[in-house]
């Protein structure tokens, strides 16, 4: 176990170093240099020179990279050129929104996926199972913006149950907050429900073949008891890993949903920064998200290795 931990840690550090390298280099790669991208096409040579000097962009790349890494380690992800605000400040302000969205989506999807998967695993090949198979195929394929617009159309435009766009922070009350977060979370959750239910169903069916299930039933325990109390736990490894990974995916991948529902989260920030050519913000944000994502994935991997000792060193990629 200790060895796995060390290897994982080394892996994470190396990947993060490469990511930090990439984010420094990406500024170099803008055609014409970051100065032109940020100041605009019409910038004069003097403006560009002044900008480069001010931002320290005329120093060698290696020196800048070293400084970037030192900054990141101390929590300084750079500053926006437009507003001068430190990236971390903006991220801290917007993180709760994306986080709440991700957690809500995860909870919603688990609440639906687990009972559903248990049911279809128990009644495998039944009508519900076959129907759900088709439906889940569609849900998995559907792009977020399609689902979002469909949900928005039905529940916000036609039936007016939820607001079309906008975010009510918790300070405005729990009710409005949940109302504004429901449709976006639902959009994200629908795709995950399909994935989670498939994984859990497959694992449950395998678990149900075991003798201990037969033994429990023979002892007179009800089907529901056996399913939920005996069979569910050993079947949930893959599901839990997937759930952890999904959380990470939501944090970085809710971009489209945030844009459609106008939620002031990290994804919307990314899109706005790109359109405003705020490259320093983009650089810092990408580094931050990658950091969170890599650490989260590593934690999930470790948890999985801890829960299931059989896994060991079987890692792909």
């Amino acid at each position: 176990m200790r060895r796995v931990l060390l290897v994982k840690l080394a892996h994470v550090v190396v990947v993060l170093l490469l990511v930090s390298l990439l984010t420094t280099v990406m500024l170099e790669l803008t055609p014409g240099g970051p100065a032109y991208a940020i100041l605009g096409e019409s910038a004069t040579t003097e403006q560009v020179e002044a900008f480069n000097q001010e931002m320290g962009l005329d120093r060698p790349v290696v020196e800048r990279y070293g400084e970037w890494v030192r900054n990141v380690v101390t929590g300084n992800f750079g500053e926006s050129y437009r507003t001068g605000q430190p990236v971390m400040e903006v991220v801290k302000a917007r993180m709760p929104v994306t986080l709440q969205l991700a957690v809500m989506a995860l909870v919603m999807s688990l609440m639906v996926a687990v009972p559903l998967a248990v049911y279809v695993a128990y009644h495998a090949d039944g009508r519900v199972d076959r129907a759900w198979s088709v439906v889940s195929s569609v849900l998995i394929s559907a792009p977020h913006f399609v689902v979002a617009l469909l949900a928005s159309f039905v529940f916000a435009v036609r039936w007016k149950v939820f607001p079309v766009t906008g975010w009510e922070p918790l300070s405005n009350g729990l009710g409005p907050n949940l109302r504004s977060a429901f449709l976006p979370a639902l959009t994200l959750a629908l795709g995950e429900i399909a994935i989670f239910s498939r994984v859990l169903r497959a694992d449950m069916i395998t678990t149900l073949q075991n003798d201990f299930v037969l033994a429990a039933r023979a002892k007179g325990l009800s089907a529901k008891y056996v399913l939920f109390r005996h069979a569910l736990r050993p079947s949930s490894f893959s599901l839990l890993t997937l759930a952890g990974l999904s959380l990470g995916r939501f944090l970085g991948g809710a971009v489209v949903v945030e844009v459609i529902f106008a939620l002031p989260g990290l994804g919307q920030l990314m899109v706005q920064s790109i359109f405003a050519s705020d490259l320093f913000m983009v650089q810092g944000l990408v580094m931050f998200i990658a950091l969170v994502y890599v650490v989260l994935n590593a934690l999930v991997d470790l948890a999985y290795a801890y829960l299931d000792p059989r896994v060991g060193k079987v890692r792909a990629g």
């Binding site: 892996h11 990947v15 993060l16 490469l18 990511v19 990439l22 990406m26 790669l29 803008t30 055609p31 991208a37 128990y122 009644h123 495998a124 090949d125 199972d129 076959r130 198979s133 088709v134 195929s137 569609v138 998995i140 394929s141 559907a142 792009p143 977020h144 913006f145 399609v146 617009l149 159309f153 435009v157 994935i195 498939r198 994984v199 497959a202 069916i205 149900l208 073949q209 299930v213 037969l214 039933r217 893959s238 995916r249 970085g252 991948g253 971009v255 489209v256 990314m270 899109v271 790109i274 359109f275 050519s277 983009v282 990408v286 998200i289 990658a290 994502y293 890599v294 792909a316 990629g317």
Partner: protein, 312 residues
């Protein structure tokens, strides 16, 4: 992830090569789990044919778009915001400034399909080679490749695409490259797993014992065997790429106008969602049907060719 219900591998094995009668004789109901352990039927066949049909139509329209009797996609051809209907003139309606939805959907499909197919093919070749090398050489080569792949995977895919869009100006080749990039690690992972599983077989060992060079082992022994399993995932990856392209276009970071794109059409129609939902749902439905078809077909192809037992 499988569409059909192959739940019990033992049953599948037991019925392989059996005739109908033997198959029937082995049907039984498990009293505990109530699973009817019958051999897997060919259900879902209709859906697979529908999916294939849809894709054939889409590809045909995309390839022969210029020869079809369509209006131009950038010129207004009729009253704006016409709803779709069963008629010959503009069956899919018109958009906000009167352009033909049908034409725009077909030309948008051109972009999406081209990007999806070419991107998936590029990723398959690139990822396949990378995985082959990693799986064959193992050791530090595999470790380095693994780290590089993980760096790409360290970014949520849309974020990576957005970053690339932030740096460079968008164009068709760049989109193909960046979309292929996000899918390459998946292919590499698959190729590596397949290579490792084949590299342990006797014929590879024999080849090595006979003094075959690395190149020969990789390309004559391993590659032909991993080719099918790796290629079987192409449809699924194409679906992923098409969704990603749609999202990029939706955010305005895809192919720049006047070339229509499905995502762009959805984005443009978003403001009129309340009044003219067809502006959004015509391209959205076409996109959805195409992606679902790719997924269904890809699932079926993958199940046919994938060597690995697990369905994940």
């Amino acid at each position: 992830m499988s569409l059909t219900q192959d739940s019990d591998p033992e049953v599948v094995a037991a019925t392989e090569g059996g005739d109908g009668l033997a198959v029937l004789a082995q049907t039984r109901v498990d009293p505990v789990t109530k699973l009817t352990l019958k051999p897997p039927r060919a259900h879902g066949r209709v859906i697979v044919w529908l999916a294939t049909g849809w894709l054939v139509v889409m590809v045909f329209c995309a390839v022969f778009a210029d020869f079809l009797p369509l209006e131009k996609y950038s010129a207004p051809v009729g009253p704006p915001r016409q709803t779709p209907g069963l008629r010959f003139d503009e069956p899919l309606g018109t958009d906000a400034i009167g352009r033909s939805q049908l034409t725009r959907v077909i030309y948008g499909g051109r972009v999406s399909l081209a990007v999806g197919v070419i991107g998936a093919a590029v990723a398959m070749v690139l990822g396949g080679l990378i995985g082959l090398i990693a799986g064959h050489f193992r050791g530090w080569v595999e470790a380095v490749i693994g780290v590089v792949m993980d760096t790409v995977l360290a970014f949520p895919s849309l974020f990576l695409l957005l970053t690339i869009a932030a740096i460079f100006t968008q164009s068709l080749p760049l989109m193909v490259v960046s979309l292929a990039l996000i899918v390459t690690p998946s292919f590499a992972r698959l190729a590596r797993a397949s290579t490792i599983s084949f590299a342990q077989r006797e014929f590879v060992e024999a080849s090595r014992a006979m003094g075959a060079t690395h190149r020969r082992i990789m390309f004559r022994e391993l590659l032909p065997n991993i080719a099918f399993p790796v290629a079987s995932y192409t449809f699924l990856m194409a679906a992923v790429i098409i969704v990603a392209e749609g999202s990029l276009s939706f955010l305005g970071l895809g192919i720049p106008p006047p070339v229509p794109s499905w995502g762009g059409m959805v984005s443009a129609g978003r403001d009129s969602l309340a009044t003219d939902p067809s502006l959004v749902f015509v391209p959205a439905t076409v996109l959805l049907l195409t992606v679902v078809s790719f997924n269904i077909l890809g699932d079926r192809v993958r199940r046919r060719f994938d060597v690995r037992k697990s369905s994940l």
